[in-house]
Symmetry: C2
Subunit: 187 residues, 2 copies
Amino acid sequence: MIHPFRQHIEEIIPLTDDEFDFILSHFESIKKRKHQYIVQEGEFVNKEYWVIKGCLKTCFYDDSGKEHILQFAMENWWSTDYESFVNRTESKTSISCLEDSELLYITYENREKLTSEMHKMERFWAKKSKYGRIALQNRILSLLKNSSKERYELLLEQYPKLFQRVSKKLIAAYLGVSRETLSRLNS
Amino acid sequence: MIHPFRQHIEEIIPLTDDEFDFILSHFESIKKRKHQYIVQEGEFVNKEYWVIKGCLKTCFYDDSGKEHILQFAMENWWSTDYESFVNRTESKTSISCLEDSELLYITYENREKLTSEMHKMERFWAKKSKYGRIALQNRILSLLKNSSKERYELLLEQYPKLFQRVSKKLIAAYLGVSRETLSRLNS
DNA sequence: ATTACTGTGTGAGGTATGTCACACTTTAAG
DNA sequence: CTTAAAGTGTGACATACCTCACACAGTAAT
């Protein structure tokens, strides 16, 4: 059976067996239990994670202590505090497990090494970065132009599986409304 | 005098004279007047622009016809409908000039060509893409966690020049509030 | 100079959303 | 099994923000 991570990379760049083994040798795997943290606010993050199995949330808090969600990550998604990872600054967000999770991760140093040793991976990450940027841009568009109800429906349409795995409170924190308002959107 | 575009690239990657000339040969320049469009919604965008002089807005409209602003671009900033440019899809946004403007642009084909011919530029764009992603991420963080007043103050702090060149109506459309509300924030 | 257009501030009133409170159910922990 | 904790829905009320209206200043076009 083909490794799900290989399948993920090959959606963008075809690989030989040797190339995949070489890539994989730069990663480690790790298991984490529900409620455990992968990244804590204020840390210097030097790993980027890929979800083999499980579900993560990237969250942050406003001055009144209210939680907001930047991103969920389910199977085949990447997660890290991107700003901290790229700029070597303190993380503004925390990442934790919503379920018991199995992850691959690559350190900053290994990512740099792999980027320079293997041009295919430089191209892979460049593509990923482009797509990530487009997704974020569309989220901003949606935050500005759509009502809460519309944002709720768009999310439901795009990621129906999320609603079976994640509490409404967290969905609300992602959409930018209170859980009470989210609850009343259906009526 | 050093070309401002060279200076811009050299903030990330040092260049020889020949390298810069080679890069520049892939670009064209163009002048546009205030109110003219660079990109219109629905078009397939195949150019990426760099502002030598002037000011652009990237805007889009909700169902009620209200204008929202995704991005401003002043001197030394890049602008295009990134999704359309990367994915070869129809643009969701329009880009137009807020002042008479002077621009450099590169076509999609030339960008691909330059990326493959010159590894330094592949790295330059990869870096730019990373930074762009971080900026967008921070905008989402701000939209979720900060009040309108806080967003206003953060923008004023980060881009004071913008307020001397752009109407409050457009600032409001960028921040995601009505111009009336923006006007009342100061009191 | 005249006219139109755009930008800006401010009042009045409506609406969407937030906050607090409580009830009840479901899930997790000892 | 028992108890605590988290998730969910709903009512009552407060509030931030939107919309519409109007006034007036500044700018551009004829």
